[in-house]
Amino acid sequence: FYDEANIQQVTEEGQRLNKKFVGENLAMLGNKIHEEKFQMFMKEYGKEYSSKEEYVHRLGIFAKNVIRAAEHQALDPTAVHGITPFSDLSEEEFEMKLLGLKSGNSGDSSLNDVMGLSQTTAPELDVKG
């Protein structure tokens, strides 16, 4: 009879507790949604993890990458961003394991120097019309 639906505490302490309760439930709901998506991702891409700890670790990275994909979607609205085969890799792992072009932090001018651009650039072609 005296459940939360019928009686709501309106004192300061009650509001604080209510906010905490709502926050915790939202976080749990968020984690559940992420875990469901993660399990679909594992099935889709045939992913297996060696231990429960590794599973939890990858789930955490996956959740961050879901948020990152939403950020990318906002920054790159003409493309579609979302869950890919690399959604269980951190940014650092992605760079280390899937990229691999050296001089990656150079500016344009030094890249040109690396390539010896001034010496070997192809002659200009006619592109009119």
Binding site: K97, L101, V114
Partner: protein, 229 residues
């Protein structure tokens, strides 16, 4: 220049490959440009060996001292220099990809494609298009930050550093019209072959908007010429 151009339709591009968990994009970009140039020179499309580059190419850039080091990364231009010295590349079937660096097992008698020369291409995107049409698919470096989450469509990020060029890919064509739902219009784009398998992106390909030097795609472009025999 043609309005649209795609080397895949002309048979100059091999199937999408998969580098696995190995930082060997530079080797896949190198074999891609060699495969295309060899097709132009001989009319034959041969899938060439990335593993030969991983195992045998340890060339260093003379200025920055960056050396090609298998899954640890490399540069396409270093690889061209190695190939000129070594004589050429074996085919994929004689020197297959295993995704980790091992001992060099290169056999000069099995060379399938020989490089004669290489060149870099200017920063101008019209020149890049003209050289693509004339010389075949081009090796390109770009900033891959948006590629980890890319699924499809024309990628045209509002912010993408042109300086942090960290991924080697293959430019195979361009298109004048790629429909954008957001803009309810068409955007011109580059067609880029990646080496992360067919399950990534648009069947292994990336569409990157054209005309904005986006993600530094114009800063490290190169082509090769191969021998006809």
């Amino acid at each position: 220049l043609p309005e649209n151009f795609d080397w895949r339709e002309k048979g100059a591009v091999t199937e999408v490959k998969n580098q696995g968990i190995c930082g060997a994009c530079w080797a896949f970009s190198t074999t891609g440009v060699m495969e295309g140039a060899n097709f132009l020179a001989t009319g034959k499309l041969n899938s060439l060996s990335e593993q030969q580059l991983l195992d045998c190419d340890h060339k260093c850039d003379r200025k920055d001292k960056d050396c090609d080091s298998g899954c640890g990364g490399g540069l396409m231009t270093n690889a061209y220099k190695y190939l000129i010295e070594a004589g050429g590349l074996e085919e994929e079937k004689t020197y297959p990809y295993v995704g980790k660096q091992g001992d060099c097992k290169f056999n000069p008698e099995k060379i399938a494609a020989r490089i004669v020369n290489f060149t870099t291409i200017s920063l101008d995107e019209n020149q890049i298009a003209a050289n693509l049409v004339r010389r075949g698919p081009l090796a390109v470096g770009l900033n891959a930050v948006f590629m980890q989450t890319y699924i499809g469509g024309v990628s045209c990020p509002l912010i993408c550093s042109k300086r942090r060029v960290d991924h080697g890919v293959l430019l195979v064509g361009y298109n004048a019209k790629g429909f954008s739902i957001l803009r309810l219009g068409n955007k011109p784009y580059w067609i880029i072959k990646n080496s992360w398998g067919e399950r990534w992106g648009e069947k292994g390909y990336y569409k990157l908007c054209r005309g904005h030097s986006i993600c530094g795609m114009n800063s490290m472009v190169s082509a090769v010429a191969t021998a006809t025999s």
